[in-house]
Symmetry: C2
Subunit: 118 residues, 2 copies
């Protein structure tokens, strides 16, 4: 298994940057081009890295003040992983929390990421 | 989405029965024949329902006194679900706990189930 801590840290950094171009670079390192993304708030699943970037861009435009951080450390076995996340406000209030489950492809990139809200 | 509560309850019942034949019947209702199963304790993934049944048989032989129950209710979106589980002893001590993440196929059966230990 590729270093899951590094991958997850880069993924959270991609959410937390306000710079769309930085996000594209970060996600390019860790997300497969055909990565499947789904969460409970999205009517449709996302099936390309480009649309994944655009999805986070829209989130950032809507909630520029929120920061995403780990609520529980990543753990992994085989090619599978999970981690807990929380969105926090500038005054450290928890806005939302949940978990992500994912899969890593043979190239060491995330090719599936499924989000749940607690 | 098929009724995920019903599927998960049947899955836990399949773990909890001491009768291998009852387990085969329960899993036949809810697990696809080619369901992929993996957890942190298994060196190899399991890729058939038959071997899934045999895996639980071996667990039951080793730990007949443990019961598996929900530690958090199932939730689901698209074709994905998760739930928290715990193994409890007859005197209600928690032996182990974690979460399962899974996927449902078009026939309404589980075709992927990935377990994590907290």
């Amino acid at each position: 298994m590729t270093d899951i801590d590094s991958i997850v840290n880069n993924y959270l950094a991609a959410w937390n940057t306000l710079e769309s171009e930085s996000r594209v670079i970060l996600l390019g390192k860790i997300i497969a081009e055909d990565c499947l993304y789904a969460d409970a708030h999205l009517p449709e699943t996302i099936s390309t890295r480009e649309s994944h970037c655009q999805f986070i861009d829209r989130f950032r435009d809507k909630f520029p003040h929120l920061k995403i951080e780990l609520s529980s450390p990543p753990n992994a076995h085989h090619r599978f992983f999970r981690f807990g996340w929380q969105l926090v406000t500038p005054d450290s209030q928890i806005f939302a929390k949940g978990s992500f489950f994912g899969e890593i492809d043979r190239a060491g990139k995330i090719n599936k990421l499924i989000g749940f809200v607690d």
